[in-house]
C-alpha cells in the first residue's frame, strides 16, 4: 500500500514529539531527522529548519509548534514539534495529545531540566510511550552514563534502554528512528465515524489566512467538505487540506491518525483555537475531543508608545499580532503618566517579552511597558468583588480580603545550591512542598509560591544564585488570600499611576525605598524641590528629595556664541517636549523605562 496521505494505513503511522529543554538540541536533532528521512536534501538544509520566526531562531526556542511528515522504511513518522516553555504549557499539552509517543531528549552534559521534567509528567499523564534519549554525546563534557542513570530513575526503565545520539554528527539518529517505529504505538481511531480532528496549532499567514494544524482522531477530513469548529459551531469552507514534508503540500484529505493542516479562509487564529475539535458540517461529530481550554492570561502589563503619536500604530500592530496569537488580549487604557496605551494580558513573562519584541521589531514601535503584574481578586466588606489587572485600579475603601494567584514551582538544581534556593524561595513567600534527589548530586525542590513573586525578577535571581544551574517550572495552583497592599509613588504629591504596585505588606517599605531611591537617580533636578514619596493610602512609607536645580545658565554669550547657543537651547526645548510632565515635574522617557525595568524573569539563553 502506498504511503500517500489520505490512504495511509494507521498501522504504519507513528506520531511523536520531542520533549527537551531550550538548548538541549531539539531543533538540531529534528534537522537531522529531516535529512536522514530524505525530506530535505543536504544542500537545502538550513539550521533549525522548523523554527520559522526570527525570534525563535535567535533565541533558539520554539514558540509555535509545527508538524512534519517523514517517510521512514515503509512507515510514516509525524514529528510534532512542541513549544518548550512554561508559558505555553497548554499548547504543549495539546501537542502531546496529538501523539502516541514522545522522545525525551536530554543534554548528556547537563541532565534533565525542570521544564522538561514537567513536560515529561504531562506526557506520562497523556499515556505517551516515552523514548529516553541523551543528546550531544559528542561533547567532551558529556556524562552519558551518569545521566542515563538519572533518566532511568525518573521514568522507571533500565539505563541500557536510554538511547544515545548526537544531533550534530548524526550518530545514533537512524537507530532512534527505528526505535520510534518499533516502540511507539500506531494511532487507533474509528475510520467510519464522524470526523474529529484535534487542533494543536493555528498560525496566521499573511497570504493564506489561518493555517490550522490538526491530528485526525476519527473519520476522515476531506477538502470537499465544509468544516466546523465544535466550540463555536462556526462552519467554514475547506479551501485546502495538506501535509508538511517539509513544505506544505495539498492532499485530497486526511485519514485516521494522520497529521496535517487545514486552510478555511478564516483570518484570525481565535476562530481556530488550539485544543478545539474540527469536524465536518455534514455528518458532524456530536462529542468534541476533551481537554479544550480558553487561554487564560496570567500576567498583565501596560504597553505605551514612547511617542504618543504612535498610538494608532500600536493598536493596529496589536490587532495584527492577535491574528496569530489567540492568547494575547488587550484593551485600551489611559495613564496620567504615560498617555494612551493598552493593558495587555499574557500567558507569562516569556509570552510578554515575545509580544513586546515582535511589536518593536516587526512593527517598528518604541514602547514603554509597565512592570508586569498578576490578577488580583479583591473582596470588599460590602460584598462587592473586583478583578484587578492594573495596580492603579486597586479599589479604595474597606477591603475584606485580597486573593492572589499561586503556582506550584519545581526547581531542579545541583544539590550544592539547595541553601541558596531555599533562601530565595522563602524570601518570596514560598512554602516548601517537598524535595527529592534525582541522582546523587541533583535535587528536585517543590514550592508553592505567589505568581506575583515569580514574575518579579525571580528567574534571574535563581539563575544568579545557582550560577545558572537551576531550572524552573511552575503551574497555576489556584489562589490564596494574602496581606497585600497597593504602594503608590508620588512626585510632588501627585501619584504616578505607572509606578503603583501591589506588594505584600511586609515588603511594601522595601519596595517604596527601592522605587524612591531609583527615581531620585533617574529624574533630573527641576527648578523646584521635588519630593518623591511612597505611600500606602495616605500613609507615607518612604521619601526622597530631588533638590532644586540652582544653576542653569551659560555664563558667556558673546557675538560668536549666539548661533551655537540658540541651537543648544532649541535642542533642549525639543528634549523637554519629549518628556512626560507629571504635575509640574518633567520626567524623561528613559526614567520611566529604567524605573519600570525589573530585570525580567523570562527565560533567556544562558
Amino acid at each position: 500500500m502506498p504511503l500517500v496521505p489520505n490512504q495511509t494505513d494507521p498501522a504504519v503511522i507513528r506520531n511523536f514529539c520531542i520533549i527537551a529543554h531550550i538548548d538541549h538540541g531539539k531543533s538540531t536533532l529534528a534537522d537531522r531527522m529531516l535529512q536522514f528521512t530524505g525530506v530535505v536534501e543536504e544542500r537545502q538544509m538550513r539550521a533549525q529548519y522548523l523554527d520559522r520566526m526570527d525570534i525563535e531562531r535567535e533565541r533558539g526556542i520554539t514558540i509555535k509548534s509545527q508538524a512534519v511528515r517523514l517517510p521512514w522504511k515503509d512507515h510514516v513518522l509525524n514529528l510534532i514539534d512542541t513549544p518548550g516553555h512554561v508559558d505555553f504549557s497548554y499548547e504543549v499539552s495539546r501537542s502531546l495529545a496529538a501523539c502516541e509517543g514522545a522522545v525525551l531528549l536530554v543534554d548528556a552534559a547537563q541532565g534533565i531540566e525542570a521544564q522538561t521534567l514537567a513536560n515529561l509528567y504531562m506526557a506520562l499523564e497523556a499515556d505517551l510511550h516515552i523514548i529516553p534519549v541523551l543528546n550531544k554525546i559528542d561533547l567532551p563534557a558529556a556524562q552519558p552514563d551518569k545521566y542515563a542513570d538519572e533518566l532511568a530513575g525518573i521514568i522507571g526503565c533500565d539505563p541500557s534502554e536510554v538511547l544515545r545520539v548526537s544531533g550534530k554528527t548524526g550518530e545514533g539518529v537512524e537507530e532512534l528512528l527505528d526505535n520510534i517505529v518499533a516502540t511507539v504505538p500506531a494511532p487507533v481511531g474509528d475510520p467510519d465515524g464522524p470526523p474529529r480532528a484535534l487542533i494543536f496549532d493555528s498560525v496566521y499567514d499573511t497570504y493564506r489566512g489561518v493555517v490550522t494544524y490538526v491530528r485526525v482522531i476519527d473519520g476522515h477530513l476531506s477538502r470537499r467538505e465544509k468544516s466546523m469548529m465544535m466550540s463555536t459551531k462556526a462552519a467554514h469552507d475547506t479551501l485546502e487540506v495538506g501535509v508538511i514534508s517539509p513544505e506544505p503540500k495539498p492532499v485530497t484529505g486526511l485519514g485516521v491518525g494522520e497529521v496535517g493542516y487545514l486552510i478555511t479562509g478564516v483570518k484570525d487564529v481565535r476562530q481556530a483555537r488550539v485544543g478545539d475539535t474540527v469536524t465536518s458540517v455534514s455528518g458532524a461529530a456530536v462529542k468534541p475531543l476533551g481537554g479544550y481550554q480558553d487561554p487564560k492570561p496570567m500576567v498583565f502589563s501596560g504597553l505605551y508608545p514612547v511617542d504618543g503619536d504612535d498610538y494608532p500604530e500600536l493598536r493596529d500592530a496589536l490587532d495584527k499580532l492577535q491574528l496569530n496569537d489567540a492568547a494575547l488580549i488587550y484593551e485600551p487604557e489611559t495613564s496620567l503618566a504615560l498617555g494612551f496605551g493598552f493593558r495587555c494580558g499574557f500567558l507569562g513573562l516569556l509570552h510578554m517579552e515575545i509580544v513586546r519584541e515582535r511589536l518593536e521589531r516587526e512593527f517598528n514601535l518604541s514602547l514603554i511597558s509597565t512592570a508586569p503584574n498578576v490578577v488580583y481578586r479583591v473582596a470588599m466588606e460590602t460584598g462587592q468583588e473586583h478583578r484587578v489587572t492594573n495596580p492603579s485600579e486597586f479599589p479604595e475603601g474597606k477591603i475584606a480580603a485580597v486573593y492572589e494567584p499561586i503556582v506550584r514551582a519545581t526547581i531542579l538544581s545541583p544539590s550544592d545550591h539547595i541553601g541558596a534556593i531555599m533562601e530565595l524561595c522563602q524570601s518570596r513567600r514560598g512554602v516548601l512542598l517537598g524535595m527529592d534527589y534525582l541522582s546523587e548530586d541533583r535535587v528536585e525542590i517543590r514550592y508553592t509560591m505567589p505568581l506575583g513573586e515569580i514574575i518579579f525578577d525571580f528567574f534571574d535571581q535563581l539563575k544568579s544564585r545557582t550560577r545558572g544551574y537551576a531550572s524552573l517550572d511552575y503551574e497555576p495552583s489556584g489562589e490564596q488570600e494574602s496581606d497585600l497592599v497597593k504602594v503608590d509613588i508620588l512626585l510632588q504629591g501627585e501619584s504616578v499611576d505607572a509606578f503603583s504596585q501591589i506588594v505584600h505588606k511586609d515588603k511594601s517599605r522595601e519596595y517604596g525605598l527601592m522605587m524612591t531611591a531609583k527615581l531620585k537617580e533617574l529624574i533630573p533636578r527641576q527648578q523646584f524641590e521635588v519630593p518623591i514619596q511612597a505611600a500606602i493610602g495616605a500613609r507615607i512609607i518612604a521619601r526622597e528629595n530631588i533638590r532644586a536645580i540652582r544653576k542653569d545658565v551659560l555664563a558667556k554669550c558673546y557675538g560668536g556664541d549666539i548661533s551655537r547657543k540658540r541651537k543648544l537651547l532649541e535642542k533642549q526645548k525639543e528634549g523637554k517636549k519629549r518628556m512626560k510632565t507629571i504635575g509640574r515635574v518633567d520626567v524623561p522617557q528613559e526614567a520611566f523605562v529604567a524605573a519600570l525595568s525589573t530585570g525580567s524573569a523570562a527565560d533567556k539563553k544562558k
Binding site: K551, V553, C557, I562, S563, L569, Q572, K573
Partner: protein, 402 residues
C-alpha cells in the same frame, strides 16, 4: 583645541550679503570685533580660536595686522558706500597684546579710514596682564583705545596655576594702575570662578582683590568645561572634579554681593558696571541686535539678521584674503522665528530685560509666581530676571519662548 564651527549655508566668494541684511544698515549701531588668534600657550580650559606659535602653519603674527586690514577693506566693499560710523571696536583673542601696540593701532586706523570712528567711539582691547606694561598701555591710549579689559581670572596663585595662567597675583591690579595713569577711563577685570581647587574663600579673595584695584567694570564667568579641552579630558579621566553647579550658584551669589557692595551693578548676567557709561557698549550691541563685522580667523559677524563666521585657521584665513575672496566659512540667514528667539535669549540676560510681547504670557506669569521674574518689571511691561532667575536664565528662556 578650538571648538568646531557651526554648519551653515555657503557664502558667495565676494562675501556679498543678501538684500535683507543691508536693509536699514546704518539705522542700527555698527561696530567691529577684531580677533587676534595668538597665544603663547593654550590654557587647559580654553576652546577659543587661538594658536600657539607652533600651530600657525605658515601664518605669522608679523603679517597679521595687514591681513586683518585686507578684511576691513573687504567689509567696506561688501557694505557699500553708506555712511556707517563705527560706534564700538573690540579687540579680543587669543591674546591681542601679543601684537605690538603699533599693529593694533594700524588696524584701528584702517577702520577709521574706511568707515570713520564715531566721535565717542568705545575702543576696547583685551590684554593678558603679563604681556603689557605702562609704556605699552600708553601707546594704546595714544593710538585711540579708550577701554582696557584685563584677564585677571583669580588672585590666588593655585587657581591661576590650574587655569594655566602665567601672570603673578597682583599683576592685574598693577595693570589697572598703569591703565589709569595712561588715561584710560574704563577698565574691566575678567574673573573666572569654579576652577578645580578653588574654594569659596579663594573666590571671595579674588573678588576683593579685583575690587581693590578699582575697575569700573567686572566680568565674572563660571568656568565651563568645554568639550575637546584639556580640562574636559582631565575631568573625564577623573583627575579633577567637574565644577559643581550648586557651588557655582553660591559663587555667583557671592559675586553679586561683593560687587554690588562696591557699587558695581549687574547689567548682564556675567557683567557688572559702576554706571551707565561704564557698561561695555560693544557687548551691548551683541545683545541688542546691533550690526558688527568680525575681523579675523573664526570671527563671527552679524548684519541685519544674517550671521556668518570666518574660516578658523589663520593660514586658511590669510590665504582667502590674499586670493581676494571672502574668508567667510558659512552663514545663516535668520527667519522671523529665529530672530525672535534670539532676542528673548539675549535680551533676557540684560537688567533691562525683554518686552513682554515677545513672550508667552501664561509662562511669564508662571515665572513671576516662581520668583524667576521681577513682578514690578512685569507690571511695567518687561520681563526682568530676579537674582534666582539669572542663575536659571537658560531654563527661563526655554520656558518663555513659544
Amino acid at each position: 583645541m578650538p571648538s568646531t564651527l557651526p554648519d551653515g549655508d555657503p557664502v558667495p566668494s565676494d562675501g556679498a550679503l543678501p538684500g535683507s541684511a543691508l536693509d536699514g544698515l546704518g539705522d542700527r549701531p555698527f561696530g567691529f570685533y577684531v580677533h587676534v588668534p595668538f597665544c603663547v600657550t593654550r590654557c587647559g580650559y580654553c576652546d577659543f580660536n587661538t594658536y600657539t606659535a607652533t600651530e600657525l602653519r605658515g601664518a605669522s603674527r608679523e603679517a597679521y595686522a595687514d591681513t586683518a586690514i585686507t578684511e576691513i577693506r573687504l567689509a567696506r566693499r561688501v557694505l557699500g558706500d553708506a555712511d556707517l560710523p563705527v560706534q564700538t571696536v573690540f579687540v579680543g583673542g587669543g591674546t591681542p597684546t601679543l601684537l605690538p601696540a603699533d599693529d593694533l593701532g594700524r588696524i584701528l586706523d584702517a577702520i577709521d579710514k574706511e568707515f570713520g570712528l564715531a566721535a565717542d567711539a568705545e575702543v576696547t582691547t583685551e590684554a593678558n596682564p603679563e604681556t603689557v606694561d605702562a609704556g605699552y598701555l600708553a601707546r594704546l591710549r595714544e593710538a585711540g583705545f579708550t577701554r582696557m579689559s584685563f584677564g585677571m581670572q583669580s588672585s590666588r596663585e593655585h587657581v591661576l596655576a590650574v587655569l594655566d595662567r602665567t601672570h603673578t597675583a597682583g599683576r592685574p591690579q598693577q595693570c589697572v594702575r598703569w591703565a589709569r595713569e595712561a588715561g584710560f577711563d574704563h577698565v574691566n577685570l575678567d574673573l573666572i570662578y569654579g576652577a578645580p581647587g578653588e574654594s569659596d574663600a579663594d573666590w571671595r579673595a579674588s573678588l576683593d582683590a579685583a575690587l581693590e584695584a578699582g575697575p569700573d567694570h567686572v566680568s565674572a564667568y563660571a568656568l565651563i568645561v568645554e568639550e575637546g579641552t584639556r580640562l574636559a579630558a582631565q575631568v573625564r579621566r577623573g583627575e579633577v572634579a567637574a565644577p559643581d553647579d550648586d557651588a557655582m550658584a553660591d559663587r555667583y551669589l557671592a559675586a553679586e554681593q561683593a560687587l554690588g557692595g562696591q557699587g558695581l551693578r549687574w547689567y548682564e548676567i556675567s557683567n557688572w558696571a559702576a554706571d551707565e557709561e561704564s557698561r561695555c557698549r560693544h557687548n551691548l550691541l551683541y545683545w541688542t541686535g546691533g550690526d558688527w563685522w568680525g575681523i579675523g580667523p573664526g570671527a563671527h559677524s552679524h548684519v541685519g539678521g544674517t550671521r556668518w563666521w570666518n574660516v578658523k585657521h589663520p593660514a586658511a584665513y590669510a590665504a582667502r584674503l590674499t586670493a581676494g575672496t571672502t574668508p567667510a566659512h558659512a552663514r545663516e540667514i535668520l527667519d522671523a522665528a529665529d530672530r525672535r528667539f534670539e532676542r528673548v535669549m539675549l535680551e533676557l540676560r540684560l537688567a533691562e530685560g525683554c518686552p513682554l510681547n515677545l513672550l508667552d504670557d501664561a509662562a511669564v506669569r508662571g515665572a513671576v509666581a516662581d520668583g524667576l521674574l521681577v513682578p514690578e518689571a512685569y507690571d511695567a511691561g518687561r520681563a526682568v530676571l530676579t537674582l534666582r532667575g539669572r542663575l536659571l536664565a537658560d531654563a527661563v528662556v526655554r520656558d518663555l519662548t513659544p
